[in-house]
Structure formats: C-alpha cells, structure tokens
C-alpha cells in the first residue's frame, strides 16, 4: 500500500512537467532573446567589421587593434584608479557608520538608514546635474567655497586632468554607501550575543571585541560587498558620461564609457563588442581572484 501511494505521489510530482515549462515560458523566451542571443551575437560581431548591410569577417583584428590602442589601456587604468579610490573607502565608511548606528535605539537606526539611502533613490541624472553645479569652477562655486574655508585656492574641478577623476571619486564617496550600510547593519545585528559575553568574561574592551569578533564575523559580508562593488565599479560610467564626457584629455574615460563611445558615437560595433568581452573577462578574473584569496575561510 505504502509503496503504491509513494508511486502515485511520485507520478503526481512528475506530472508537474508541462506546468513547470509553462510557468517559466515567458522568462525563458525573454532570457533567450534579450540575454543569451546577445551574448552569442557579441562574440560573432567581435570578429566582424560590422555594417548594417553585409558585415565582413576580419578575424582577430578588433582584438588586436584594441590591445594596441593606447586609449584602451588608459581607460583600463582610469577604471582601476577609480575602483581603488572608491570601493575601499566606501566600504570602510559604510562599516564605520554601521558600527556607530548599532548602539542607537531602533527608531534612530531606521531614521539614519533612510537618510543614508536617500541618494540611491534619486536618479543618477538628477544627481549628476546637482554635482555639476557643486563643482562650479567659479570662486562662488560651493565646493570652492568649502575648500576656501581651509585656505585652499579655487580649482576647475571637472575641467582639469588633475582633479576631474578626484571629483568623480568624491561624488561616489558621498552617494553610494546607502545599501552597504544597511547590509552591514543587518549582519552586525546577526552576530551571536554569546561571543560578546565570552569576551566580556575575558575582560576584552571595545576595540578587542571589534577586531576579534566583529571583523571576522562580517568577513562574508565584506567579501560579498567587495566583489559586487568591484564588479559594479568596473562597469560604471554614467557619471563620467554626464559630467565630464570622459575628458579632459580622456582623464575620466572609463572602459565602460570607451565601449559606449565606440558603439554609439563612432558606430564601431565590432570593436565595441570585442572590448566588452575583454571587460567581461577582466571582471571574471578579478572576481575569481577575490574569492580565492579573500574567501579562504568564508563559509556560505
């Protein structure tokens, strides 16, 4: 009897078959058409001199010319500089703020979380419009006035090769920490109280608890944020596109912007496709690297 029942049950579960495909049908079609096909297509286009009517196969030419392009390497360097300057600082700021929020009352925690998250809600275009004015090169410009308080001379923030990258970096510091703070705080609240109790018995102080309990416990969170931020940072170029256009003298041309320009300004689709695949490869390698060297004792 029991065996028979189990058989029937099993058949019922297998009956889901057609239903299963029905439920995922739309998702699969959308995926096949707008993700899978474009990826395959990108590979093909990257070996072509793309023309709307009749592309020609040119082998590895797009890749070769990319590797010989000074501008490409400059854009990679810019992207790396931007990432190295923004990601660690943003993570450190988020971590510190989350630690500071922790002892406060629940309603204050919520209020601060909401405040820090607000810039994430505003559109990137709106924020770039505002920051453009904050960086007004005139002496009356807000940022110039601010540094004037400390005795510094006014600068042409977005217009000089020295400061344009820094300007984008400062903007990122002040508008991209919202999510990380919330994620860190959730992880902090999830640390088992008994660790602290044991540390208290040993007479450990705040800094010792921070270093020996909090930092190791939050390692998976930090790794997650690090990997996702680096991946995001390597693709980012909206602020550069809207605020500096990649200039002056390509000082803020990120690799994402270079690909966009090649594709939609110069209509060199083949070159853009080749460069985007190189970017994908770089991102994959860096992510693997981070998991391998930082994720050694992280459990999932």
């Amino acid at each position: 009897m029991a065996q028979q029942a189990a058989k029937i049950k099993k058949r019922r579960l297998q009956d889901d078959g057609a239903w299963g495909y029905l439920f995922i049908a739309v998702a699969l079609v959308v995926y096949a058409l707008f993700t899978a096909y474009p990826v395959v297509s990108a590979f093909i286009i990257s070996f072509q001199d793309y023309k709307p009517l009749g592309s020609t196969f040119i082998g590895f030419d797009n890749y070769v010319s990319t590797f010989h392009s000074e501008l490409f390497w400059k854009s990679i360097r810019n992207t790396v500089v931007y990432t190295v300057l923004t990601v660690p600082v943003a993570l450190f700021l988020s971590f510190s703020v989350a630690i500071l929020i922790l002892p406060l009352k629940k309603w204050m925690q919520t209020a601060f979380k909401a405040i820090y998250y607000l810039p994430v809600v505003a559109s990137g275009v709106a924020l770039s419009v505002v920051w453009l004015w904050i960086y007004d090169p005139m002496p009356e410009g807000i940022f110039n006035k601010l540094i004037g308080l400390f005795g510094a001379h006014n600068q042409n923030w977005l217009g000089t090769t020295t400061y344009s990258m820094l300007s984008l970096v400062i903007m990122a510091w002040l508008s991209s920490h919202g999510a990380a703070i919330i994620i860190y705080l959730a992880a902090l609240l999830g640390i088992d109280e008994s660790y602290y109790e044991a540390a208290d018995l040993d007479g450990a102080g705040f800094l010792q608890k921070l270093w020996h309990i909090v930092v190791p416990s939050l390692k998976p969170t930090t790794l997650f944020l690090l990997v996702t931020s680096v991946i995001g940072s390597f693709q980012v170029f909206q602020n550069a596109y809207l605020m500096t256009g990649g200039g002056p003298d390509h000082a803020t041309t990120m690799v994402g912007l270079l690909i966009f320009d090649n594709a939609f300004k110069y209509f060199e689709f083949g070159k853009a496709a080749a460069q985007s695949l190189i970017l994908a490869l770089i991102i994959a390698v860096i992510s693997l690297f981070q998991f391998k060297f930082l994720g050694k004792d992280v459990e999932y």
Partner: protein
Amino acid sequence: MALYSNHTRRPAARNVRNTAIIVLLVLFALATLFPIYFMVISSFGDPVEAGAVSYQLWPSKITLASFKFFFDYSEYSYRWILNSLIVAGSIMITNVLFASAAGFAFSKLRFKGRSVLFTVLLCAMMIPYQVTQVPLYILVVNVFHLQNTYTALIMPSLVTVYNIFLAKQFMGSIPTEILESAKVEGCNPWQIYWRIILPLSKTVLAVMAILTFMDSWNTFFWPLLVTNTMDMQTIQVGLKNFRFANTTYLAPMMAGATISALPMFILFFSLQRYFLEGVTVGAVKG
C-alpha cells in the same frame, strides 16, 4: 553583553557616548543629504542665468517660476513623466507576474532540466551589460525595427534574472507540506500558485515591485539609445537634453532634477520599510 559596554553603573558615560555618536552620524548625514537639499532649495529660485546667480543655501524667496521654465522648455515635458510612468509601471507589473511564476516553478515544481536551466539563468548575472548592449541595440532597432516605441523601452526588461532569483529564494522557504496537501485536495499547479504561493509571497513581491519600478524610472542609457524624438523620451533623457540646452540656468535645471527625483522620494517616504528590506533581501546568500 554586546559590542558596546552598557555603562550600567554610569548612565552619564553612556549618554555622552551616544551623543558623540549621534553628532558624528548627523555630520555624515549632512554631507550625504547636502546635494539633495541644494537641489530642492535652488529649484525655488528665479529662472535667471547663472552669471547673475549667487548660490544660496537658504532661499531668500520661493517661486515656482523655474518649474514653469522647465515645463515650457518643451511641449513634451509632461509627456516625459507620463512615458516614464508607463514604462516603469509596465516593467514593474510584468516582472512581478513572470518572475513570481518562474520563481515558483524553479523552487516548487519538478520538471526535467530544472536546475540546469536555473544555473544558465544565473550565469546572466555575471555578464556585464556592456556585452549585451550592442547586440541588443542591433536586435531591437535594426532587426525588429522598434526604435522609438514603448515596446522597445519595455521588452528587454519584461522579467529580470535578479527578480526570478529573488522570488525563487523566498518561495523556497515556503513549506512544501502545504503545497502537497493542496495537491491531495485536487489543486493543480496554477491554483497552488494563484491561491497559496502569491498570497504568501506578498511582502517579497512588494519589495520586488518597488525596486523594479525605481530601477526602470531611473534608467538612462537604454531609453537614450532607443528613442530619437522628444515625445517618446523618458524623464531622465528629457532632463539630460534640457541640461545640455540650458547650461547656464541653475534654478530651472534644479527644478528639472527635482521633478525627475520627486516621484521616487514620495514613494520612498511612504513605503520606506519595503525599500530598506529590499536591500538586505537580495544580499542574503548572495
């Protein structure tokens, strides 16, 4: 006890510490909020050219003339907001429907190739969007000839892998026993999905709806690529065009920025809980 000492014997010490913390947090909050504050305050200024403007951190007068200036710039200014609403609204609805359906199938139904298909879907999250952008543009514009249509704006985002993942993660936590007993009672998978899974997933679907709406409202590059007349542009693209056409007008530019951000602020303040929850929902077991 906890990371922080409670200072049980000296409440004064605790108060001093908490005050110091709050001061630090408020300072950082001021720096974070300043651009938004500056945007809103400046939008109430007169629509005059920047040469005559001195920046004010407190409005000396409040006028809506700059908002009028922004809307007068193009006869389609209102249409941009409407377009954004249509596009973001449609994408929100289709994502909730199709992502919840796919999430249900991947977490609770058995069919051949289920885990393989799901893995293939997840791979998409590792591909930078630069890779798909060019072929997607060629497909939509050159092959389907959909340039300048709502279809082009909506179709590629009908359902995102991220949302399917989100739905699957949540629905996986619904006990299978409930579904088994519904099956014994004679429910087919559609009824299980509609009557049991959807009502139980209300919160996660609300989070998904809000975050999806916000993302598509704020999307800039795709609408920039596939629209070429003002009447089909979204508010983000419209704002960019307005900016390039009026580079010296501070207050109207800020008015435009305020208009583009305002619906999100209203949504955020009324549904804040879902926004903040949404951040951690995606990060758990990322």
